[in-house]
Symmetry: C2
Subunit: 301 residues, 2 copies
């Protein structure tokens, strides 16, 4: 039985939201401890996590709240199956099966082999990126546990970081600064972009996740960055993203271009001038070429 703050941490839903849902929809319906504080049981947490995931995929709370766990799970399965228009490659299902069997070392081996066979860019574009989605969907369908996802993320990170480090010396430009705003802790997208750029010999300054807004601008100037790339996962609050991007764009003045990527950006409407939307990882190379074309006169090579 967990308190409201523990549920907030576990699910990513704020205390205010949890209380409001209880007030409006009657779910969750936690018990109370002797001093009147909410106590949530495990089954409600599981349901909340599932609801959160479905909302991140675009569903609205009002439609989900009165459904049972079973119904929600079916909804998730149904929705993810719809998206599997193009048949899922056998290589992906193999990897997911390895995850399910909890064979850590075999997973690592398999990933490394794929990297060698496909090459860096192909590996990222055709294996890692779709696999991330597939793993998330497998969770919604109940086929993978959260810790399976964590293990997957760690191994991919290991493989990608090793690959980045092994790349030869970098060119001079463009210098790309990679990070996320505070509260966005999903850093795999950044790492994939860094990998793609490393394959192009582009020098990156990777700050990891959750850099305060004002620090991003300062860092961009200190490191003389030409491009500042931000990543937003589907769960990031839309308003906060828009506000953060606008604010950063202003602070940077004209010193750098801003790239925004991640699954959230499709939902962003109008972007300020000087902000480039990276819809998918396939857009990274074109965006890079565009930058090079635009800046070839003043800084050749």
């Amino acid at each position: 039985m967990l308190s409201i703050s523990q549920v907030e941490r576990d699910t990513g839903l704020s205390k205010d939201t949890l209380r409001m849902w209880e007030r409006r929809y009657g779910f969750p319906q936690p018990g109370r401890d002797p001093s009147g504080e909410r106590l949530y049981d495990a089954s409600q947490i599981d349901k909340l996590r599932l609801i959160k995931r479905l909302m991140d995929a675009g569903q609205r709370p009002g439609k989900l709240m009165n459904k049972s766990f079973q119904e929600l799970s079916e909804l998730g399965a149904q929705q993810t199956v719809e998206q599997q228009d193009d048949s899922l490659p056998a290589a992906h299902t193999d990897l997911i099966k390895l995850l399910q069997s909890h064979d850590s070392s075999a997973l690592e081996q398999h990933l490394s082999q794929l990297l060698l066979r496909q090459g860096l860019q192909q590996f990222v574009l055709t294996t890692v990126a779709p696999l991330n989605v597939a793993v998330g969907e497998a969770w919604v369908r109940g086929e993978l546990a959260i810790f399976d996802e964590h293990l997957y993320t760690e191994h991919v990170q290991d493989v990608l970081r090793a690959a980045i480090q092994s790349m030869p010396r970098r060119q001079e430009s463009p210098r790309v600064l990679l990070t996320t705003l505070p509260h966005e802790h999903h850093g795999l997208g950044l790492l994939m972009v860094e990998t793609l750029l490393a394959a192009e010999r582009v020098p990156c300054i990777a700050l990891g996740t959750q850099t305060p807004l004002s620090d991003i601008a300062t860092a961009a100037i200190a490191h003389r960055a030409d491009i500042v790339a931000l990543s937003f996962s589907a769960g990031f609050p839309l308003r906060a993203a828009a506000a953060g991007i606008a604010s950063l764009r202003q602070e940077l003045a004209e010193s750098a271009t801003v790239w925004v990527g991640g699954r959230l950006v499709a939902r962003l409407k109008q972007l300020p001038k000087g902000v480039c939307r990276i819809q998918s990882l396939d857009d990274v190379r074109p965006a890079l070429n565009a930058w090079r074309a635009a800046n070839s006169r003043s800084a050749p090579g």
Copy 2:
């Protein structure tokens, strides 16, 4: 000018805490937007971040709240100087100077060189661990920016992950599962432990940070872990840590030993039976030997 939720994200102080401080101490004293909502300016955010850091180092809010930014900074400097009983090695100040000069590639090179010269375990114990502390203190003294810390963390992570991957095949036992509780996103401690263990050929299952409590137990069983190692940074709420540890200990039954490490653990009083306190990284090897001694009869080798 930032809203209360943005400040919460930037500083790690909850909305409730920010409002309570305003009520009790008169700081922070945000302005209001047209609809009456709080707006914090940049100088107050800086001060709040500094206060948070000093609190993580053991200070109490009541003593800090009526001091100016200047006084707080001096307090931080004074306190960190006291701790520098043993003179700081030149190698450390060199690395910090590299950080200050924003020379990303030189930093990476320097770290790799130190690793080669010192060997894996020495590198972690005598370079990385003290350097982490030194970098944090340099921030309190205003000598490094937050993004400098981020960059440092990323590079250390690159070096350590590469080193771990390059280690030869592992033994059979003990199998160590590494992770943190939800809301603890500081994963460098885990990585250092994993590095030390890798040097001993101990197989690790690294789940990264923020694994839900119930998932940790499930994962430990699924991966047949002998040891579950958790890390808690200084800023983690003490109560939550104690509660989490006790709960995990119970869920695991007798199937695995629990290790708890990180700067918080010194403040934990009594630990449940079957939980081992790792005060510093130097304790990792002894704890490992202790485990081997205790389990040599049932599972030799």
